[in-house]
Structures are given as structure tokens and as C-alpha cells.
Amino acid sequence: MRVRHPDLISGALLLIFGLATAGESLRLPLGSLAESGPGLYPLALGLLLAGLAAVLLWQGRQGAALPETWGGRPGKLLHVVGACLFLVLALEPLGFRLTMIAFLGFLLGWVERRPLWLTAIVAVAFSLGTFYVFHALLLTSLPTGPWGF
């Protein structure tokens, strides 16, 4: 995919974000300059961002398309993002070790088509090895799952 007007796209997105921030800030007490409320500072920042985004939009009218194509492997990208989503949902219910074995196994075996033996060794060794080093030795907090595994 080739992005023809990158600055128009990013300018529009940031303009919306800036205006939304300003709008949400108005729902908070603004106070006065001497005793400013929680909404005044984010209101100013939202308006500043919207102003800068407007300048980018104005400049972006003549902006050239990006030279490279991107999202060259959208299927692979979606698989990786999907695996990350699974990881977020499974990490605490299943625990670190089981989730990571499944996560690494999927990426190496399914997405990257690596041999089964290599996938199994890397997935199991890194999941159990890092858990032992970080959780047991370095006392980092990592989820253990309902079965203590």
C-alpha cells in the first residue's frame, strides 16, 4: 500500500485528538489562572496540539507520497497483533509459562513455519527459562496461573 498524503492523514488524526482533549478538559473544573483547576493545563495542551496539527494539515496539501510501500506483509502483521491480543487475554488466567509457550509456539510454528522440534525447544526453553530467571532469581512479579504453573 502506498500512502499518498501522509501529513494529511496524521494531521487530521492529531487535530481530532487535540480537539477531543480540549473538549474533555472542558468537563473538568478550569479554575482561574491564580488557582488553576485540573482542566486548564490539558485544555491549553489540546488547543496547542490542534493548532500545530492545523499547520501540518496546511503544509500537507503539497506533501509528497511516502516513497516506500508499507504493510508489505499484512497477513503476518495481523497474525502477530492477534497473538499479542491472545497474550493479553491469557496471561493472567493461564499464567506466564503456559501463555508464553502458546505465544512463541504460534509465532514460530505457525507464522514463521519453523520446524516443530525447533519451535518446541525455543518455546519451552525461553518460557520456562525466563520465568525461572526473572521470577525465581530476580524476584520479578510474573503471573503463575490457577494451577500454580
Binding site: 485528538f17 482542566g39 493545563y41 490539558p42 508489505g72 493479553v88 525466563t130 524476584l139
Partner: protein
């Protein structure tokens, strides 16, 4: 106490067996994250941060600082051997380093990069030792208006020093400042922009954001990259530079040490900018500028010395003012604060052993890196042979440990992945991620200083201009903005006038 007495006290802290071990571990991890493309010092420091919770503060910072400067050593290896920069600050090294490798001179290129890094790194630590106390003495008298002005100047400098568009850098800084307002308002106690999510009540943590933007974003971006080229494996014997190599490199290393140190103090992409400035200067000073880009050893020695010197410079604002100059120093600031140590002008008085111990450990660490790096290059080259399709799932695993380990909250992992996707989009739309992280760190301090200043003045903005230090800092920021904005504006007006004249004719 004089500098020498303080240095002596620092070395007494740094050379204890435990701290030497932490410095060694940090140097090895730093070199490793520098060597591996896509895994930067930020990811390395963030990953080890939870592991330092149980440590003594000095040991924790010695370990994290060693990862930071160690990564600058490691970044050159992939640049020289594979034409792929391990770090953004090693991009320039590719130009002549890879050419030298193609000409069979990979050994001297790696050797001069290591020696240049050692010399510049050591000189910059000496500079840090001399200048950090001076700056801390000045900063002790700073009040909220001065801190506000200093941070505004820092953000403008960030835009000015950035390698990309200043407008985009300032926009990203504004986004970072907005993200910094999420959570409990420190003055009134109001919850802002949390939408009922408890994970947001304490604010958006910058470590998950940084790991998302730099770690996950880089992995997603690299999925579409080409296959990495084959790697050469030079022997230790060929790595020692010849007398002619030393003669050619001595001047560039000396100049780059000064340039890197000075640019390192400034906020922004200091390491990257210092390498470009050093390369451009050496090319201009050279009697044979045509050799640059075709395997000139000066083109390796200068930039590699500059990016290591910038590390010492970057520690000055962090340790003496409490303002980080980049994402990696920002994580170190977080580490200090987690250990109950507040970096800033009083750090030197309240925790002299930590302050001088960390600085002294940087001398020792630089020496360790020189001794370790040359013999271990073969080992690191073997790591580069690991195919990226196997490496990136493991990198993602480490980012999960880093983000979850900080708070033990799955919400931080969600934040990391969300910012990973945002980082991927930003890379494609040519936005730099560093300003977001830096502004997110500075945001709460900036807001507090701003609101406290207005409280002091009864709502008058004159307070920022009535105090000399604040006025000078703000004037410098305005001047920099004008310098950046006026030339393009003048070009546009001149173009319009010329076009109008042509139409009239």
C-alpha cells in the same frame, strides 16, 4: 571536599566486588542489546528495572547505567559487519565501517570503534565529574518558574536537535504532555481522563509506552524488512589498528569527544546528532574528503567516539538538575525514584556515595567494555546469525516481562501493545517516538512548575520574565523557535515575491 576526594569516595563504592559484578553484567547486557538490531538500550534498561527493586540504589543505577553506555559500544558491530545499525546512533558508522569490512578491514574498523569509544567515554566521564557539581550548585537556587522555563527550553531544543521535522517533533511532545495529564491531578486530587479504568489512575507509565513505541513498534516495523545479509567474523589479531590508523583517528576521536559530550547534555536525539556532526566535521577538515563513504577510518572513529561521549553528557542534566535528556536517562530517573532517591541538585549532597559511585563506575565500566569487547566480538557475531524470525518472538517475550514486571498489572501490557501499534504507524508516517516518551516523563513536572509559578504570582505570567534565570531560558527557547521558523518563512515569502514579479513581468 574537592573533586579528587569525591572521586576517591566514588571509586571506593564502584570497586566493591558486588558493584563490579553489576557493572560487568550491565556492560555485557548493554553490548548485547546494542548488537541486536531492534533491541535498544531502552528495552534493556526497562527489562532489568524490575529486577533492581531489591537492590541497593547505587548498585541498581550502576547496572542500568552500564547497560546504557554498553549499548553504544555494541551498536557499531552490526553497522560494520552487516551494514545494519544495531542502534540509531550507529547509522553513520555504516557509511565507512561497512566499506572497510568489504575491503577486508573489518578488524581495524571494530578495533578503532572500541578504542575510540573507550577514550571518548572516559573523557566524557571526566567532564561529567567536573561539570555536574557546577550545574547542581546553580540549580539549587531554581524555583518553579526556572524549572518550568528549563523544561520548555528542553522541549524546544528537542525539536531543534531532532533529525526530522521540528513541527512533528513539537506535536509529538504535545502528545506526550497530554498523556502525562492522565491520572490523579497532583494539586486538586481530581481524576483526569481515566474513564473508570483503575490502571490509568496512577497515570500512563512511560516504561510500557517506551517499550511499546521502541520495542514492539520496532518488531512490527521489521516484519516487512528484507533478510539480513551474511556476517563476517574477524579475528582478534586483526582488530588492533596500525600506527597509520591511529594517526588518522587521533584527531577525530579528540574532537568527537568534545562534540559528543556537549551535544549529549542537550535534550533530544543527542547520540544520533553527535555522530552526524562529528562525521560532517571530519569530512570538512579532511585533506581527502573524497575518501569518506569509501572506507575512511576517520568516518568510523569520529562518530563512534561521539556517541559514547554523548552518554557522559546525557548524565549531567539527569544527575544535577533531575531532568532526563532522552528516553534511556528517563528510565534511569524512574529507577532512582523507585528507590526513593530524587535526582536533582540536592542528590550530590543527600546521596554523595551514590552520585560519585555511579560516575566512578562509568570509568571502570568503560575499561571493562574495552577489555571484553574485542575478544568477545566472535560471540556477538554468532548471536547475529540467529534468524530474525526466531529473534523477534523472543524480543516480544522480554518486552512483556519488562512491562508486566514493573507493576504486576496486565493493564501495562495492554498499554505497551497499544503503543506498539501506534509506534508502528508513527514509523511509517515519519514521526519520532522519542519526544512522546520524554514529554510524558517531563509532563507532570512541567505542569506542577507551571501551576505553582502562577500560584506564586497570583495568576500573572510576568513571573516567568521577572526572574533573570527564567527569563534567559525562555528567551533562548523563543530565539531557537524563531531560528527554526524564520528561514523557511523567508524562503516562502521570497518565492511568492519572485513568482509575483514574474507574473507581473
Amino acid at each position: 571536599m574537592g573533586v579528587l576526594d569525591n572521586a576517591w569516595m566514588g571509586f571506593a563504592v564502584a570497586v566493591t566486588p558486588r558493584n563490579l559484578l553489576y557493572a560487568l553484567a550491565g556492560c555485557l547486557i548493554g553490548t548485547l542489546v546494542g548488537v541486536l538490531p531492534g533491541v535498544g538500550p531502552l528495552a534493556g534498561i526497562s527489562l532489568l528495572l524490575p529486577a533492581t527493586f531489591g537492590m541497593d540504589p547505587a548498585a541498581a543505577i550502576i547496572l542500568l547505567a552500564a547497560i546504557y553506555y554498553g549499548s553504544q559500544y555494541g551498536g557499531s558491530t552490526t553497522s560494520i559487519l552487516m551494514n545494519i545499525p544495531g542502534e540509531s546512533s550507529s547509522v553513520v558508522t555504516c557509511l565507512d565501517g561497512y566499506r572497510m569490512a568489504q575491503q577486508g578491514r573489518a578488524g581495524p574498523a571494530l578495533g578503532i570503534a572500541a578504542f575510540g569509544s573507550y577514550i571518548a567515554g572516559t573523557l566524557s566521564v571526566a567532564g561529567l565529574m567536573l561539570f555536574a557539581p557546577l550545574l547542581a550548585r546553580v540549580a539549587v537556587d531554581f524555583g518553579p518558574p526556572e524549572f518550568f522555563a528549563l523544561m520548555v527550553l528542553g522541549l524546544v531544543l528537542l525539536g531543534y536537535m531532532s533529525s526530522g521535522s521540528m513541527l512533528k517533533t513539537l506535536m509529538m511532545a504535545a502528545v506526550g504532555l497530554i498523556l502525562g495529564t492522565v491520572g490523579i491531578d497532583p494539586i486538586t486530587g481530581y481524576l483526569r481522563f481515566t474513564y473508570g479504568q483503575t490502571v490509568l489512575a496512577d497515570g500512563i507509565g512511560f516504561i510500557p509506552v517506551a517499550m511499546g513505541l521502541f520495542g514492539v513498534g520496532e518488531v512490527l516495523y521489521s516484519l516487512g524488512e528484507k533478510v539480513l545479509p551474511a556476517v563476517q567474523r574477524p579475528s582478534l589479531r586483526t582488530m588492533l589498528p596500525t600506527r597509520q590508523d591511529w594517526k588518522d583517528s587521533a584527531g577525530p576521536i579528540g574532537r568527537a569527544s568534545v562534540i559528543g559530550f556537549l551535544i549529549g547534555i542537550l535534550p533530544g536525539s543527542a547520540h544520533v546528532v553527535s555522530t552526524f556532526v562529528s562525521y560532517a566535521l571530519e569530512r570538512r577538515l579532511s585533506k581527502h574528503p573524497e575518501r569518506f563513504g569509501h572506507g575512511a577510518i576517520e568516518g568510523v572513529a569520529g562518530p563512534e567516539a561521539a556517541n559514547n561521549a554523548a552518554t557522559g553528557g546525557a548524565m549531567i542534566p539527569l544527575l544535577s538538575v533531575g531532568i532526563p535528556s532522552g528516553p534511556a536517562p528517563a528510565v534511569m530517573m524512574a529507577a532512582l525514584m523507585i528507590h526513593g532517591v530524587r535526582p536533582g541538585p540536592l542528590l550530590m549532597q543527600e546521596n554523595p556515595r551514590l552520585f560519585w559511585g555511579v560516575i566512578a563506575s562509568m570509568y571502570v565500566g568503560n575499561l571493562m567494555l574495552l577489555i571484553l569487547n574485542l575478544p568477545l566480538v566472535g560471540l556477538f557475531v554468532n548471536l547475529l546469525r540467529i534468524p530474525y524470525p526466531i529473534l523477534y518472538p523472543v524480543v516480544l517475550l522480554f518486552t512483556v516481562i519488562g512491562s508486566y514486571g514493573i507493576s504486576g498489572n496486565i493493564g501495562d501490557v495492554v498499554i505497551m501493545f497499544v503503543f506498539g501499534v501506534i509506534g508502528y504507524l508513527m514509523r511509517h508516517l515519519r514521526f519520532d517516538a522519542a519526544p512522546v516518551v520524554l514529554a510524558l516523563v517531563l509532563g507532570p513536572q512541567l505542569e506542577n512548575s507551571f501551576r505553582q509559578s502562577l500560584l506564586m504570582s497570583g495568576g500573572s505570567f510576568a513571573i516567568f520574565f521577572a526572574r533573570p534565570a527564567s527569563a534567559v531560558l525562555l528567551a533562548a527557547g523563543v530565539a531557537l523557535l524563531a531560528l527554526a521558523c524564520l528561514p523557511p518563512l523567508a524562503r516562502r515569502i521570497r518565492g511568492r515575491l519572485l513568482a509575483g514579479g514574474a507574473d507581473g513581468a
